[in-house]
Amino acid sequence: MIHHQNHQEAITNDKTIFGFWVYLMTDLLMFGVLFATYSVLHGNIFNGPSGKEIFDLPFALTETIILLTSSFTAGLAIWALRNNNKNQVLLWFGITFLLGLSFLVLELTEFHKLVLEGDSWRRSAFLSSYFSLVSTHGLHITAGLFWMLISLIKVKSQGITPGLARKLTLLSLFWHFLDIVWIFIFTVVYLMGAI
């Protein structure tokens, strides 16, 4: 009976994780459209500011380091998960959550500054594509943070079940995926914009 249950769990894990990868690829394609749009429109500054004028590279680097670190701590959390260590899972995902939150706060302050000086998404096609690309990433981070919060509540209340372990694995995949997308944003938008 237990053998049968383990077999069923293995099948479920396999197809669920595979399905989640397929979903991540479709999400990547959505980002692809945003990157393509950004590439085409980033020169259309229409008498507004260009990337060079508004991008603060040290600031973006700080955001990048925070997000990369959060990916590392998420990895530690999954390691703890594999070792069935409930407290460490809570600790490392908790740190990941705080780092993700700081990332968001930093990003929002950057946006706030731009809007206050009149360079909002309404100003030009360049700014529209910049704001939508970075905000889409930010919205995904927000969704991930909600997911993390609810998952941690479940870990606290019911401990680590096979189903929850699977879902936390999916969450970590999601988080790493967002990190990779951010690397692209950092490169294409900030680094290339500063040249």
């Binding site: 197809k15 595979f18 394609l29 939508s132």
Partner: protein, 674 residues
């Protein structure tokens, strides 16, 4: 405050023109009639428990097909209105019912052809195909269900929400989009279309598009992960291969559509400048993006249909499919190449001769694997013994019309030729030949072929043949005049033409063709009604009415809800044919194998759930509220949807166990019936 709750919905928005009110009354009558009927026969609970909350792909498939059929009638009505207007309305004819010429105003005419296109592509063809794949693919691969049963239910209800959204303007009024079925920018921007029309378009397609994407992921994972033991990829039936390729296309392109519509939404709702005429917007970007989705989309419509034809040809020629490997390679090639041709939809928009040449060549290339498929089907029939039943008739109809329209497409693949016929009725005739002669005939073929499996009795054969011939005649009568008119210079999407051009007779012939098609559809409805009345005489008792070759025919008709009591072991292609005609084993050995008692095991099945309905309901509310800028309801919809998702993740008991004893009982009853 009122603005926050109701947005721009006012009393004057509500339906008040004769055509809108006609639709309102029609929908209201149908709804009230349905409510009275269900109350009378006391079937509300049954409907909820057996059908609406079901996660069984066979039930979900049937629901898809029913809704698709209803939308087919609506899209068809739109067509008749278009044809009527073009026949009686010329630049010098009188105007009736408030129109300047004919009986439809220009704006109304534009809304109708926009609605027609969106309904037929998204809600009819995609709906039918998703229904068919749900019904047949799990059976063909020897599986019990899709990979993610709850997501299957959710996908259907999101589709249904999209259907309701696109028809909502008959309830709340406003207007429908008048910017063509793809709502091209900059026409669809606020500058030219500030009303709710384009927003209805955006939100109904976003909501159903989400369902499509979810369904696509589900099908891909199912086909790749849940095949019966022994069924390698190269042993799958061709319909399963075709569905896999079609769904790979779906998961690749629907993110593009979703994001493009989001960019348009951002322009319209937040004042951004992606596709506007000012502030650096670039409308060409919209055209590129929307056709990067749009071209592969038409392959999504046709590739599964090619799979249907492969099954039908091989079954009715009583021969295994010729060139299985080349068919798989061809279908894969079409899938890949479909990403490289999108610019042929706008050769005339100034990309230059070099770019046009590239896309023209790629468009010609894609005809080659399609030709390979047709040659394989013809060679399958060569030296076969053809059984002339209505499914194969639809195939013959397809071959004649599709090759005809395909050659028109090859003609337009040449940019210089395309410059003459771009956006003319020649183009309209070409793509309708592809979709009607190709996809729709295939859907009818598949519907007739698999009907006995799904419902347990065959369709009336003779009426089916009459319906086919009527369709074929009506189709050529309707569309050949359009090819001619297009060649003579008739532009598409015009509500009136000058009578001095002398084209009205051809339009009249086309209208007669439309009437013949209406008779054909009437015959199909008649076939359905007569077949249901005569179902006891036409029962399929063996589960294998056509002497089929693939695993779906190895089950009872209709199959039990768990499909297979014991998952079959597959040893070759045409798995069921091998089971019926095993090589190297004597018939006594076969009989002995059948007699040995089957070992039943417990089966885990997904429970029914209403969560798909609730979640889609909230998303529907969100979409509708966004159309009307009713921000309070938008927030309620969004928050409600998120809560539903969270609630669902807390549900630990989504499956139940069917014990081996129960399975044995059901199997005994099924065998007693046959």
């Amino acid at each position: 405050m009122e603005q926050f709750i109701l947005g721009r919905l006012t009393w004057s928005s509500l339906p008040h023109e004769w055509f809108t009110l006609g639709g309102t009354v029609a929908f209201a009558t149908i709804l009230i009639g349905l409510t009275i009927f269900l109350t009378r026969v006391k079937r509300w609970k049954w409907l909820w428990n057996e059908w609406l909350t079901s996660t069984d792909p066979k039930k979900i498939g049937i629901m898809y097909i029913i809704i698709a059929f209803l939308m087919f009638l609506r899209g068809g009505l739109d067509v008749v209105m278009i044809w009527l207007q073009q026949t009686i309305g010329t630049t010098s004819s009188p105007g009736y019912l408030g129109a300047t010429h004919g009986y439809l105003s220009a704006d109304h005419f534009q809304q109708i052809f926009t609605a027609h296109g969106d309904i037929m592509v998204f809600f009819v063809t995609m709906g039918f195909l998703f229904g068919l794949i749900n019904l047949i693919v799990p059976l063909q691969i020897g599986a019990r269900d899709l990979a993610f049963p709850f997501l299957n239910s959710l996908g259907f209800w999101l589709y249904f929400a999209g259907v309701v959204l696109i028809n909502m303007f008959f309830v709340l009024g406003g207007e429908f989009a008048a910017a063509g079925w793809l709502a091209v920018a900059p026409l669809s921007e606020l500058q030219f279309n500030p009303g709710v029309g384009v927003d209805y378009w955006i939100w109904s397609l976003q909501v159903s598009g989400l369902g499509t994407l979810i369904g696509g992921i589900n099908f891909v994972v199912t086909i790749l992960k849940m095949r019966a033991p022994g069924m390698s990829l190269m042993r799958m039936p061709m319909f399963t291969w075709a569905s896999l390729m079609g769904m790979i296309l779906v998961i690749s392109i629907f993110p593009i559509l979703a994001m493009t519509m989001i960019l348009l939404t951002l322009d319209r709702y937040l004042g951004m400048h992606f596709f506007t005429l000012d502030n650096g917007g670039n409308a060409m970007m919209y055209w590129n993006l929307i056709w990067m989705w749009g071209h592969p989309e038409v392959y999504v419509l046709i590739i599964p249909v090619f799979g249907i034809y492969s099954e039908i040809v091989s079954t009715f020629a009583q021969k295994k499919i010729f060139g299985y490997t080349s068919l798989v390679v061809a279908v894969g090639a079409i899938t890949l190449l479909s990403f490289s041709v999108w610019l042929h939809h706008f050769f005339t928009m100034g990309a230059g001769a070099d770019v046009n040449a590239f896309f023209g060549i790629m468009t010609m290339w894609i005809a080659i694997p399609t030709g390979v498929q047709i040659i394989n089907w013809l060679f399958t029939m060569f030296r076969g013994k053809i059984i002339f039943k209505s499914p194969i008739y639809w195939f013959f109809g397809f071959v004649s019309t599709f090759t005809f329209g395909g050659m028109a497409g090859l003609l337009m693949a040449l940019p210089p030729v395309d410059f003459q016929v771009h956006n003319s009725l020649f183009l309209v005739a070409h793509f309708h030949t592809m979709i009607v002669g190709g996809a729709l005939f295939g859907i009818f073929a598949g519907f007739t072929y698999w009907f006995p499996k799904v419902f347990g009795f065959k369709l009336h054969e003779r009426i089916g043949k009459y319906a086919f011939w009527t369709w074929l005649v009506g189709f050529f009568l309707s569309f050949v005049p359009l090819y001619i008119l297009g060649m003579m210079g008739a532009v598409r999407r015009m509500d009136t033409y000058s009578p001095s051009l002398g084209w009205q007779q051809l339009f009249t012939v086309s209208l007669i063709g439309a009437c013949v098609i209406m008779c054909a559809v009437g015959l199909q409805i008649l076939q359905l009604v007569v077949s249901i009345i005569q179902r006891k005489q036409n029962r399929d008792l063996t589960g294998d009415p056509w002497n089929g070759r693939s695993l779906e025919w190895a089950t009872a008709s209709p199959p039990p809800f768990y499909n297979f009591a014991v998952i079959p072991q597959v040893h070759s292609r045409d798995a069921f044919w091998e089971m019926k005609n095993p090589k190297g084993i004597s018939s006594s050995e076969v009989a002995k194998q059948k007699k040995t008692s089957i070992k039943y095991e417990d089966i885990e099945l997904p429970k029914n759930t209403p969560m798909g309905i609730y979640l889609s309901g909230f998303i529907f509310l969100f979409g509708l509220a966004m159309v009307w800028h009713a921000w309070l309801f938008a927030i309620i919809g969004l928050v409600g949807a998120i809560c539903c998702v969270i609630l669902r993740t807390f549900d630990e008991h989504t499956e139940y166990v069917l014990t081996a004893a129960e399975v044995e009982q059901i199997e005994k009853k099924l065998r007693a019936k046959s």
